[in-house]
Symmetry: C2
DNA sequence: CGTTAAAGCGGACTCACGGTCCGGATTCTA
DNA sequence: TAGAATCCGGACCGTGAGTCCGCTTTAACG
């Protein structure tokens, strides 16, 4: 199978679109009022190009998201403790959730745009599955939680959903460190058998 | 203050629309593929009427939701324990969340339609505020949680968000009683100081 | 009752946005 | 450098929320 490499202009345009979209979303008040036409115009590119490169709106958002998430994924899969493997479960759950929270704080608009990317529920997205599987796997190693690890993983992830984070950090102006502390406290309670 | 009562035909049409919308949403696979035109047609009414009576899509959803929620609200505000007032905090939190979960299980499509009702985040909805205030008030009475009662209330409510409930009950076919038990177990852990 | 002004009706219409299409330009291959 | 494969981009389409306005119905009053 050939697997031909993309043409030069295609690659260049792809980058231009990613950069433009990134800037636009970061700047915008709400992700909803950035249209695909806006992105195309800002990138100096036609809509056709935009859609051929990313399929549809959520494809573009996913591509942006994955790119930003890459370092975090790396740190989780093969980095040093407490994020990386080989950390005691209890402590690793805390580290995972904290890193996810920080990521969403640093990429609020983008995360928001991705989760509310219209039609499909967030629970069908591939990246959600990755987080959930990872978290569930760690939770299973904690005595007394194995039975509910699936549900508990969902619930802990629900605590850092983009729109909730946006509401707390953006609307109510809860400071970053306070949020992190509260999440840590809550998580600790949630994974400690009474 | 005038406060004129609505005309007979207006009242009749309003009821027709509510009934039609209720039936349509209950029947539908996903709330998204029921358009306002569908509702109007099913109610035997023009779109103009529909929009005059409810303002916009989310107004219609809210009206449906409030109607369904009425008995639950009653039980919470002035019913007998464990839901009503005068219940020990720990136990009442469990009862509140359980009743909210059951409500969403019984009105899955509607709750889903309301939460994803496009533009505005669920955290700006008036009914969310009511649940949150109520829950926070009760949590404050639990020793050791007072400081984080705001965050904890948000997080517990996040555990029963409509799309998560839909995912678990609808896609993964987790049985009702199992969900209730898992939520109760999780909640107990979350409101018990280590 | 009969009259009349206000309230309500409904469906054709607008508008915005995601997504498609295709004639022409550009880049790879030989 | 010729030909073919790929890509470009903006005009175009479908859809669905929300508006508009001429006509009908209601209800208040003489």
């Amino acid at each position: 199978m050939p697997e031909r490499k993309p043409r030069k202009d295609a690659a260049r345009n792809r980058e231009a679109v990613l950069a433009a979209a990134d800037a636009l979303f970061a700047r915008s008040e709400s992700p909803e009022d950035i249209t695909m036409a806006d992105v195309a115009a800002a990138a100096g590119v036609g809509k056709g190009t935009l859609f051929r490169a990313f399929g549809d709106r959520s494809g573009l958002l996913r591509a942006l998201y994955e790119a930003r998430l890459e370092p975090v994924r790396e740190a989780i899969e093969s980095g040093p403790p407490p994020l990386g493997p080989g950390t005691p479960p209890h402590q690793r759950v805390l580290a995972l959730l904290d890193s996810a929270l920080c990521f969403k704080l640093d990429n609020r608009r983008l995360a928001l745009a991705l989760e509310e990317s219209g039609s499909t529920s967030p629970y069908q997205a591939a990246h959600y599955d990755r987080w959930h599987n990872l978290l569930q796997g760690v939770l299973e190693q904690i005595p007394g939680l194995a039975a509910d690890s699936d549900f508990t993983a969902h619930t802990l992830l629900a605590a850092i959903r983009a729109d909730l984070v946006e509401h707390l950090a953006g609307e109510e102006d809860v400071p970053r460190e306070k949020l992190r502390a509260q999440l840590a406290a809550f998580t600790t309670r949630a994974i400690t058998a009474p």
